[in-house]
């Protein structure tokens, strides 16, 4: 195998393509579909991963969440879980007092949607958050204008609220929201502040929130429990390096407070960003498998097309192979030439596929909420995969060609 072989093989390959345009096109198309599938699948997964990781990072990067239940998806609660106690404001205070690795602790209630009215305008989607003054620092999310909720607001259970940017747009398109009276679920609240914009997370706006003092929330929603409302104690550790010790300290404190016997599992959920990523990976793992299987089947179909055209090509060119052998081609010369021919065919298909895949992901980014992203290595994967298909499915035809007897092939009509 040398450079001379390569050139001759490329000549042969282009010759085959030229001589059998339609058949070659179909073959190339088959491989393209396979590669498009692979690239497309990879780009979807990569896109999801990338944006998720980025945005989790942005979400108040190292925060630790303590909740009634462990975060999980599609799992039936067992009897212990059904009888769990709710976390309380006292639990949050205990953590604040006793966990040295916790720099800031923010307990909060979160109701997924609440109706907010201002005069004749109404929004049904805002997330209602009952918070303490610690919220701002813990979540790295600050008030832009006006002021945030204070300890006094919390203690007095006052009817004040801070609104997110989405609400400003929805309810106060032309007026200044500060000091205006809004109605949350029919109750009057005074707007004391407006949050800074936060942007999107996984295609969801993070500005669609309204904040009230945590005790005001308890006053109006005393019987509201999971899943309509969740209570979370969010902890910001001293730094990234303290995530683990903070988790350990919090676990200790809570187990002591609840007198959980040694060796028994936790009776509360505690998760850091890493745990969140774990869940995400759990979710995408299955998707990954399905997407991989689909890509595999698509590539198989493309590969069988390649094998078919190569077998036909070998048969049709028996006489030519005989002639090449008669003038001195060795078995390995012939083998390589047909292999390279197959790889050229699949390579063209691969490049075509890559182009289409890239285009599709660009379009997807533009016109759909799903983030798609073709990493540079996916281009390598596409090219590599198509070449591999050429080699795998071209090997047998090439081997058949290489073994032909020169005399018999020359006689072949």
């Amino acid at each position: 195998m040398n450079f001379i072989d390569l050139k001759e093989s490329a000549f042969m390959a282009l010759d085959t393509v030229r001589a059998n345009k339609l058949r070659s096109m179909l073959t190339i198309l088959g491989v393209s579909v396979g590669v498009v599938t692979v690239v497309f699948m990879v780009s979807i997964i990569q896109g999801l991963n990338k944006s998720f990781a980025e945005q989790i990072e942005a979400l108040g990067s190292n925060s630790i969440w303590m909740t009634k239940f462990e975060p999980s998806f599609g799992h039936q609660p067992n009897s212990e879980e059904l009888h769990r106690k709710e976390l309380t404001l006292d639990d949050a205070d205990a953590v604040r007092r006793e966990a040295p690795s916790a720099m800031s602790v923010s307990p909060l209630y979160r109701k997924i949607a609440e109706t907010v009215r201002y005069e004749d305008k109404q929004s049904d989607t805002p997330i209602l958050l009952g918070v303490t003054p610690y919220y701002e620092f813990t979540q790295s999310s600050y008030v832009g204008r006006g002021r945030f909720i204070t300890d006094l607001d919390v203690e007095e259970r006052s009817n004040v609220c801070v609104v997110g940017q989405d609400l400003v747009k929805a309810l106060f398109p032309f007026t200044d929201p500060l000091d205006k009276q809004v109605k949350i679920a029919g109750k009057p609240f005074k707007v004391i502040g407006v949050m800074e914009p936060l942007g999107n997370f996984l295609g969801q706006s993070r500005d669609n929130s309204i904040f009230i003092p945590i005790k005001t929330f308890e006053k109006y929603y005393p019987e509201l429990h999971f899943p309509e409302s969740i209570y979370v104690i969010i902890v910001r550790p001293v730094s990234r390096a303290y995530v683990k010790s903070a988790v350990d300290e919090m676990t200790d404190i809570m187990r002591r407070r609840r007198r959980v016997p040694l060796g028994a599992p936790n009776t509360f959920g505690i998760s850091s960003q890493d745990a969140l990523l774990d869940i995400y990976n759990q979710l995408t793992g299955a998707t990954y498998l399905v997407l991989t299987a689909i890509s595999f089947v698509a590539l198989m179909i493309g590969g069988i097309g390649v094998m078919n055209i190569m077998l036909v090509s070998v048969t049709e060119r028996t006489k030519e192979i005989g002639l090449r052998k008669a003038v001195g081609a060795t078995r390995s010369n012939i083998l390589w030439q047909f292999l390279i021919e197959a790889v050229v065919l699949t390579g063209i298909g691969g490049l075509l596929g890559l182009a289409v895949g890239e285009l599709a992901s660009i379009l997807m980014n533009k016109y759909s909420p799903l983030p798609a992203f073709v990493p540079v290595w996916a281009i390598g994967v596409g090219v590599g995969v198509s070449a591999a298909v050429g080699i795998v499915f071209g090997l047998w035809p090439a081997w058949k060609a290489a073994r032909l007897d020169p005399i018999e092939s020359l006689r072949y009509e």
Binding site: I4, D5, E320, K325, A326, T330, P406, I407, E408, L410
Partner: protein
């Protein structure tokens, strides 16, 4: 079709000595065949295409092989050209024992030592005359620029310098055969073989081709050609007649 399995090992007797290497007084032996057999196993019966052929060819000779159809001429030519291997017997070409070579070595011999001209030309239909002539050089590993040079020169030798970029279907039968001859010559092989090179050509074109062979012979090439036409055989220097796989007559006429 099943592959014909043939024994490729030479006679085990070992009595056959290596041919004498050219000495001052002696003519230079290029081909030496001893008791060559070619047997086709057709299942029930065995077809002996050649049974026990022995002869020598000296360098620079011009030999015609004649005989009736089916007598084994092509079989013999294919053995000489190392396209096929004998079932039994010993064959030395240019001092090398070809009958003991493996597949890759034979390919190398075909590439370096033999130029083969076929009755039906066997050109690559979609390649230019130049590329066709370059083919043996490609497998000989000769780099591009030199390859072009050599191929152009070979085409010039057969008077086709002005047809280099033509494809076979743009050439006449005689021109195609001349391209094939250029291809056979391009590697400067030690022997030029032609199996009925004029079989597919009309009389006057045949004449031109025979003139070309004569010219090539005068230039020092060793030529063996198969024909069943007497006037073509008569232009050679030596005629071997074979019948039923055996040499019937071996006469020198010049």
């Amino acid at each position: 079709m099943t592959e014909a399995t043939v024994e490729t090992s030479p006679t085990s007797s070992g009595v056959i000595a290596k041919p004498e290497l050219p000495s001052n007084g002696k003519a230079d032996v290029l081909i030496l065949m001893r008791n060559l057999w070619k047997t086709y196993d057709m299942g029930a019966e065995k077809v002996h295409a050649l049974h026990g052929v022995s002869f020598e060819v000296t360098r620079g000779d011009y030999l015609a092989i004649t005989g009736p159809s089916g007598s084994g001429k092509s079989t013999l030519m294919n053995l000489i050209g190392c396209l096929d291997t004998p079932s039994q017997g010993e064959y030395w070409l240019n001092g090398k024992n070809v009958s003991e070579m493996d597949d890759d070595e034979l390919a190398r011999i075909r590439n370096q030592e033999v130029g083969f001209v076929f009755q039906t030309f066997n050109l690559l239909a979609r390649a230019t005359a130049l590329h066709n002539v370059e083919l043996p050089l490609i497998y000989g590993g000769i780099p591009g620029a030199k390859r072009h040079e050599m191929a152009k020169q070979a085409l010039a030798e057969v008077d086709l310098a002005d047809r280099m970029m033509h494809r076979p279907n743009e050439l006449s039968g005689g021109q195609r055969q001349r391209v094939a001859i250029a291809r056979a010559l391009v590697n400067h092989p030690s022997i030029l073989l032609a199996d009925e090179p004029t079989g597919a050509l009309d009389t006057s074109t045949s004449y031109d081709i025979m003139n070309l062979f004569e010219k090539l012979h005068e230039a020092g090439n060793t030529i063996i050609l198969v024909t069943h036409e007497h006037d073509i055989a008569a232009r050679a220097h030596r005629i071997i007649s074979i019948r039923d796989g055996l040499i019937e007559k071996d006469e020198r006429i010049r």
